[in-house]
Amino acid sequence: MDFHFSEEQKMLRESARDFLQTECPKTFVREMEKDPKGYAPGLWRKMADLGWMGIVFPEAYGGIGGDFLDLLVLLEEMGRACLPGPFFSTVVLGGVPLLEAGSASQKEEFLSRLASGRMIMTLAHTEPVTTQFDPHLIGVKARAEENRYSINGTKLFVPDAHVADYMICVVRTEGKNDSPKGITLFLVDAQSPGIKREVLKTVARDKQCEVTFQKVKVPPGSILGRLHEGAPILEKLLQKAAVAKCAEMIGGAQFVLDMCVSYAKEREQFGKLIGTFQAVQHHCANMVLNIEGGRYITYKAAWMLSKGIPCTKFVAVAKAWVSDAYKRVAGLGHQILAGTGYMEEHDMPLYSRRAKAAELAFGDASYWKGWVAKEIGL
């Protein structure tokens, strides 16, 4: 048992925090919420120069050969800073599955471009029929034509699709709409004729998009993994994405707590610091319970994932717990920061709005509790 972060991870955390404090102030975060692209190419380039996009890719592809835990350390800091932009989409949703399931030529084609920040990727998964999260409910179809496939249908809540160069598109090539069998993953050029992308207006003002595919032609060589057998790749991708999202959430929740503790140490009411009131202390203590539990369970699941230990239960526990925990922390944060924290210009709403978006991403607590129920034998 060892809860220590490695020296490299500590350095990574420190340098990421310093960098983001300078490069990603809250004014920038708010600006990007209104910006059509939602990220700044200049900052993106600097992040690439630091090696962040290549953090989990082997050196042969221009990466720095780190592991999944290193990526989580970085994501925690990004969550803390509310970093806008397509990092998560590109690295976690695009790069990680390519690294794990891509053919040699696909890795060759994509990974070095991802690692150097020259390519933005995302995952087109959810659909209008997904009124409740269900990864295998895929109705968008790819029909085999001569020497190619033709994709038709609509994907929703596709993060950063509007700026993506490529998408992993989850489609049905066989079987019923809710069957794991017959799902295929295609690497689709986002500029392909027949693709329309539109940014949805969301609570976190992140850039989740509607993407419509109208007779979009893709060659068979663009299949990630094997025809009809995309479900296992998708499941693994979603497990990693869920745990990675947890790290981002924990970073955000920790910032909320830090903000509240500082405020409670300087704000006076009734002639006393509000931090001396037990009601406020207990709110803060409750935040600690939510955050610390979330952090340990997240890293435990990540450690198991990186060791290849079967851990569906722990992934499920982590995403279920952290989804609820961040929401509770945000609620308590609002209570402590009170009227001032309710103002649009305050930092608090940035976090409570993102807590909701993150809760919904890759399955909320209800969804993952379904997995836990199965894992405990129900």
Partner: protein
Amino acid sequence: MDFGYTQEEEEFRVRLCNFLDRELTEEIARQNWEDKGVGPEAREFSRKLAANGFLGMSWPKEYGGQGLPATYDFILLDELGKRWGAHIPLDVGYTMVAHTILRRGSEKMKREFLPRIIRGEIEFCLGYTEPNAGSDLASMKMRAVEEGDDFLINGQKTFNTEAHYAEYHWLAARTDFSPNIPKHRGISLFIVDMNSPGVSVRPLITMSGERTNEVFYENVRVPQDRLVGEKNKGFYYMMEAIDSERNHVFTPCRLLPILEDLIRYVKETKFMGKPLAENPLIRDRLAQAAIELEVAQVFAEHSRWLESNEMPMTHEPEITKVFISELEQRLVDTGMQILGHYSQLQEDSSWVPLRGRIEWYFLHSFMTTIGAGSSEIGRNVIAQRGLGLPRG
């Protein structure tokens, strides 16, 4: 980072599990857990644990221990917990008192007590709480006055569980009566033979049928060499022991058998022809309980890791304590909801499901957020020691 156990630790666990599956009956486990009084079977089990090398793993060899990391003690607690055994049969001496004797006791005291504790032969009971000193423990009034070679002790303690079968009282009493000092600076710790003339024990029966006690001291003479460490330092010793106590007492594994019983029950019990396990609300609640148990486990693993590696603990074991005790209440509420009408049936009633365990836990669980420090005091500790918020 590493969330696994070493091969040696896993091998130890296997040996231990083989032993426990053979020797630990549910009845023995419950004798201690429900504070029914440790009977001859539990005493015998305690000696066998020691004889097989499962006690004193983390203690120094010169006092009968094995000099291993504390992790081994925690593995023992986990495996006991999975079998309804919340702790070892004579646990107050082992998990609470002995650590302080080791840190603060004289050489004579260590040699006198530690080997017997490790051999599973003697038990202590804590003598802290008084009728007017609960959460505000430092305001205790019990008086210990030096008289010749002895301390002369008078006063009353309450909620001293185990006092009716322990050999020794781990007693906190006031030794400095000056009105000008902070009240926590005038307290000392003593080891008192429960057979000492002037000590009397009266039962208090809890709502869940456990026995705890009031203990009265009337001119009880305690030799000077039974003072633990330095005079007037007792409160500090109590506080420095509290983190490790929490780590040893609040183990998530002891709640696993409840969850397992409930899982079995919902699979075997039908409503309108369908197993309860198919009901989405029931699945959701049991999944939530399982999630919280895993979070509790990783909380415990974290604070145990600090202790096993002798790193400073401030509020981490308090987090574990608050979380697990409240989780127990939520888990039991889930159980009562699932059992419906049947949840109210007691162990010896006809029609009782799950041997009445859930009903007993329902009653018992009111105590878990109070005993050993209330959740409210716990949250104060987390806020003040963990986050540096100012005291009011």
